[in-house]
């Protein structure tokens, strides 16, 4: 653990499996001696847009492979859409669209022909509506004009779009998108975001991984932050924001009195910069201990002349960096 308490978004395992699109317990994957995924408990509520965040090499793709039954778990259990994985894979997968670590296609077939081949592989996909569904999926990702072009002539961004189109071939309950904005230009990134929003509005749960918080922060309702195979924080976005340290800053000439009042409330005040007559007293405080308005009232009641009063949470970006580290080192 590199910091911060893990926050559980949902209580109780039994009730959670009904309301959860994805639920894992102690999920682990070992490669040789390395724990690529180390006992993670994911809880993705149905209907959420869930950001799965973490730096390169932290184990996001490996987790997604286990969710889809591509790789077996070394330990732990998975429930997808209420069903056990891998036991019920065949029943669950038709309702799941996925993009896993980059798109992959037959270079000598056209985009539409590739989708046709993948859709044929799904026994449950009705062939009567196939052309129509392929057309709609290509249209959704803005590839209609290149549908007949061979994939080897596609740019990286076009392949990425085709990969997303594949995930959208059928109506899905759950979409699992592994770094969907890789290789896309800013315009493409915006399009993916609005696509995810519209899918979520239609009731699809979207599980989207990214190593860039900024790419998904605007669209997510929930997130989990992963670092070196472990989940270091999880919950709604506002939970995550609040879980960052919140700092209280009081500006007053009565520095001593303010310290006294704050100490009596159970905080640990520190004296900051002196600016003319006014001094600064700062303190970190746990979210649920005392509310800011109680503190303000106590200060005023204690005869402290309040000239400034500020409660400031760290940004999610700061929190993300604090949790995962900022260096260029790829996690091993």
């Amino acid at each position: 653990m590199t910091g911060g308490p893990a926050i559980q978004a949902l209580p109780g395992a039994t009730s959670a499996t009904e309301t959860s699109a994805i639920e894992t317990r102690g999920l682990s994957k070992r490669f040789g001696r390395q724990m690529a995924v180390d006992s993670i408990d994911l809880s993705v509520p149905r209907g959420s847009v869930f950001g799965f965040l973490g730096p390169n090499g932290c184990g996001k793709t490996t987790t997604i492979r286990m969710l889809l039954g591509l790789a077996s778990a070394t330990n732990g259990s998975i429930t997808l859409l209420g069903q056990d994985i891998p036991a019920r894979l065949r029943d669950v997968l038709p309702g799941v669209g996925a993009l896993v670590e980059g798109p992959a296609f037959y270079p000598f077939l056209s985009g539409a022909a590739n989708l046709h081949r993948l859709d044929t592989a799904d026994r449950h996909a009705p062939s009567a509506t196939r052309r129509q569904r392929i057309h709609e999926a290509l249209d959704r990702v803005g590839l209609s004009h290149a549908a007949g072009k061979k994939v080897k002539a596609y740019s990286l961004g076009m392949k990425q779009r085709l990969g997303i189109a594949n995930a959208l071939l059928a109506p899905r309950e759950l979409l699992i998108l592994d770094e969907p904005t890789n290789g896309l230009d800013p315009q493409g990134t915006r399009e993916v975001r609005s696509l995810v929003r519209s899918l979520a509005a239609g009731g699809t749960t979207v599980f989207v991984s990214s190593h860039l918080l900024a790419e998904v922060e605007q669209i997510c309702t929930h997130a989990a932050v992963m670092s070196a195979g472990r989940i270091v924080a999880q919950g709604t976005l506002s939970d995550l924001r609040r879980a960052g340290h919140v700092q209280l800053k009081v500006i007053t000439p009565d520095v001593g009195a303010a310290q006294g009042v704050l100490a009596r409330l159970g905080l640990e005040p520190a004296v900051g910069r002196q600016d003319g007559a006014d001094g600064q007293v700062t303190a970190e405080f746990p979210v649920d201990a005392v509310s800011p308005e109680e503190i303000a009232a106590a200060l005023v009641g204690g005869g402290v002349r309040l000239r400034g009063f500020l409660v400031e949470g760290s940004t999610l970006e700061e929190r993300f960096v604090a949790l995962t580290g900022e260096g260029f080192e790829v996690e091993q």
Binding site: L70, A71, R90, L93, A104, P107, A121, R123
Partner: protein, 249 residues
């Protein structure tokens, strides 16, 4: 590949046509008989394709089945579709088997066509000395094609298994072809007589009995049982490997 295979009897027939006289007893069996009866272009084409050309193409196709998808990265999307691992494996094997049949038919049909084009086609004198009509002779050629197709099915199963072991298709293709060639080499070592009946390629050239009157199907049956054994063993290995494999490409 099918075009290349179809080209083999064409090459042979053209060579025979252009060199007017083939000294009998040299070159592949039946070579000297093409000029007198075009149907032998098909038989000769099949005969020269068996040791190398057919195993080569079957090795490429069978080795590519799973490893090719893994190498491209499309395997994960097929499985996520979901194609179902067992179903995908079966579909891939059926595809390889269909290729075996098409490959052999490509040689046989192009051989009959080019033979008919360049040489006279007349009733055929069989190895037993009996003479059969052109129609009957063509049926015999197709029987031989069926025999050779069956011969290749075991090898296709070996290739399917090797293909589940790697994400590098070229590796699986090469390994499959090596298996076929090693099997033929071993089959030629008299010291290993006890092993011969179990070798993949043991009956590959044993279709001469189909050119007697009446045709003898003993070899056909032994060959079919042997190939079925290979299909069962390597099919089971491929199943065991592929259904438990982590798809990480």
């Amino acid at each position: 590949m099918l075009v290349a295979l179809a080209g083999i009897p064409v090459l042979i027939a053209l060579a025979v046509r252009l060199t007017s006289r083939v000294p009998s007893g040299r070159g592949p069996a039946f070579l000297d008989r093409i000029a007198e009866n075009g149907l032998f272009a098909a038989v000769t084409g099949l005969l020269v394709s068996i040791p190398l050309f057919l195993p080569l193409t079957v090795g490429v196709v069978a080795g590519d089945t799973i490893a090719g998808e893994a190498g491209l990265g499309t395997l994960k999307y097929l499985l996520a579709a979901p194609a179902g691992r067992v179903r995908l494996l079966l579909a891939k094997y059926v595809g390889a088997a269909v290729f075996c049949l098409s490959a052999v038919l490509a040689v046989a049909l192009s051989g009959m066509a080019i033979g008919a084009l360049l040489f006279p086609v007349r009733p055929v004198t069989l190895l037993s000395g009996d003479t059969v009509s052109v129609g009957e002779a063509m049926v015999r050629v197709l029987l031989i094609a069926g025999y050779i197709t069956v011969s290749l099915l075991g090898m296709a199963a070996v290739g399917l298994f090797l293909s589940t072991l790697t994400d590098v298709p070229v590796g699986a293709m090469a390994a499959t072809i090596v298996v076929a060639i090693v099997s033929q080499v071993l089959d030629n070592l008299p010291q290993l007589e006890w092993l011969h009946p179990w070798l993949l390629s043991h009956y590959w050239l044993g279709f001469a009995d189909l050119l007697r009157q009446p045709p003898s199907f003993d070899n056909f049956a032994s060959n079919a049982w042997l190939q079925l054994g290979y299909i069962a063993v390597f099919g089971a290995l491929a199943y065991g490997r592929f259904t438990t494999k982590d798809v990480l490409s």
